[in-house]
Symmetry: C2
Subunit: 340 residues, 2 copies
């Protein structure tokens, strides 16, 4: 039985909590033992916004050992790994502490705010011979896995072009509004757009250069709208955009349109459509589970079987941060091409 | 009664022909008198591809004076205007001939392949005191008119960002394949992407600079995939992309997503959705007619009432060509920012 401590039960933390509850119910060999959150009101099911109850969902927190202090939890609990769903600026410190205590670490995206922090996390993992994985959920998302497979197998030949977009309303639910503070979240580039940066890195590797135009809208939040072009030697035309000030009833979009030599693959509004140049369109039969559930299961299986974290190695997710930082540098300089 | 000669009945020309038939049936004071096409098989309803009959639609060409030579038509016919739906590289010459004969000119987009050709067209119009309009149909497309109105009236405040896309299968139906010859059509940038270039020019004016990444796929066709970023002083993030090698059953997309300070407007899959930041989404009640029908009607009304061609002045559509040429220069230089 793999014993887990969950650190942080904000919006993403509760998503992980739901998956642990589900995995335990399904008989998967994992047990959530302890939960830590600085805001003890959460243990009374009082969640943001406004620290009032939202919806009908209530958790039975009496089943877990509860902490408001990370050090205390790491000291008292005998855990196989911790799952870190803290605000980004706290990732590195918490991960390194846990690794130094001999625990494995699953940590929410983005890995950290800087490449130096990422390096320190990897060093701690290697020094302690522990596994470290960043929960870049799109790498476990069936429709993106399908795209990866198309790229890897050349099923439709080489990639000619790709457009990736994520966008929706401003996230206003975070603890002390950390998501909208550039120094805590890195803004939309590091928090939301990072999914597509990571996907492009995973699919195509590090680009030769990036050029980013971005715009700040919310005071203090960094960039809220971003458009990046990724330059590759073979001339494929790759763009990713993000906008987290699409408010009102816009909803949320995550989409891609990738054109290959012999077909194109379009994912939008939750539907994947594959259009071979010389045949009928089809929607592939894919796993029904989402990336959050599947990434946690993948990590636990890697611990149980002691297999490497190939799908989202810490080096690869660190490279994603390096690319995102180059995007910010480019945006700070009016779209200048920044080499990588 | 406004008398018209239609020059060219390829794909777009037949679209115009349909509208003249409709306008006459509706009692609009226009009469299509003469049609000219170099390929006389078309007058027997033999259309490309392959010069065989396509579909069930047959025109009664016996109602029109038919020509295979433009000069002959211009010499013999007493026309108020000619409607030019020729391949792009023939626009300037035909337009100037007609203007010099004292006829007004409605000409398909793009205006011409070069700014010099556009200038010559405008000079001929001014010298002869005739009207010249380029059929940039999106300026007459209800969903784009709505967007223009939002920009002009600041209904939702200032524009923060915009994404414009057009794309679909490769146009393989053109006479002697002129559309896929760079020197005749200007490739996807001048033929298809030009719609969004023109829209961005119309909405926001000339950008300070453009940066374009583009890719050739079909030998000899110029650029088939294009991604352009338009730089404005106020920092709005504007991107337009086009791809005419989205084959198979991809279909055809034309879409925009424009985010304003107080709301966003999204047009995709034929549906316009307006999302005010502080209210319910809605789909505005717009004219049901498409831009092709409406632009022809607009032009004829301008002739009848002798009113200026404000919506698509030849200077404005020439500026669109200048911007598109800057995009090609940028693409030729790996995305270099080209100032305008």
């Amino acid at each position: 039985m793999v014993k887990v401590g969950l650190i942080g039960i904000g919006f993403m933390g509760r998503g992980h909590l739901d998956n642990y509850i589900r995995l335990e119910a399904e008989g998967f060999p994992v047990k959530l033992v302890a939960i830590c959150d600085i805001d003890k009101d959460k243990f009374e099911n009082k969640f943001l916004p406004g620290n009032i109850n939202v919806g009908n969902k209530k958790y039975d927190f009496s089943k877990y050992n509860l902490y408001t202090d990370i050090d205390e939890m790491l000291e008292n609990e005998d855990l196989d790994y911790v799952d870190i769903t803290l605000p980004t600026y706290l990732h590195a410190e918490a991960a390194i502490k846990a690794l130094n205590k001999g625990m494995h670490v699953l940590c929410e995206k983005p890995m950290a705010l800087t490449v130096d922090e990422c390096k320190a996390m990897i060093e701690a993992a290697e020094k302690n011979n522990r596994k470290l994985m960043i929960a870049q959920c799109l790498r476990f998302w069936p429709e993106y896995e399908y795209l990866k497979e198309c790229v890897e197998t050349n099923r439709f030949g080489k990639v000619l072009a790709g457009y990736f977009f994520r966008g929706g309303g401003t996230p206003k639910w975070s603890y002390q509004n950390w998501l909208l503070q550039k120094d805590k979240s890195g803004g939309a580039i590091l928090d939301q757009h990072i999914h597509d940066v990571d996907m492009i890195n995973w699919l195509f590797g590090t680009p030769k250069a990036v050029s980013t135009i971005a715009k700040n809208v919310i005071p203090g939040s960094g960039y809220d709208i971003v458009s990046t072009r990724y330059i590759y030697e073979d001339g494929k035309v790759i763009t990713a955009e993000d906008d987290w000030v699409l408010n009102g009833e816009y909803g949320f979009s995550m989409l891609y349109r990738v054109n290959f030599e012999k077909g194109n693959v379009v994912y939008e509004k939750g539907t994947l459509k594959v259009n071979p140049n010389d045949g009928k369109s089809f929607t592939p039969d894919l796993p029904k589970e989402n990336g959050y559930y599947r990434e946690i299961k993948y990590f636990i299986n890697a611990l149980i079987n002691d297999t490497p974290i190939d799908v989202a190695s810490p080096y690869s997710t660190m490279e994603t941060i390096r690319i995102a930082q180059a995007e910010i540098e480019s945006a700070d300089n009016g779209g200048k091409f920044v080499e990588l």
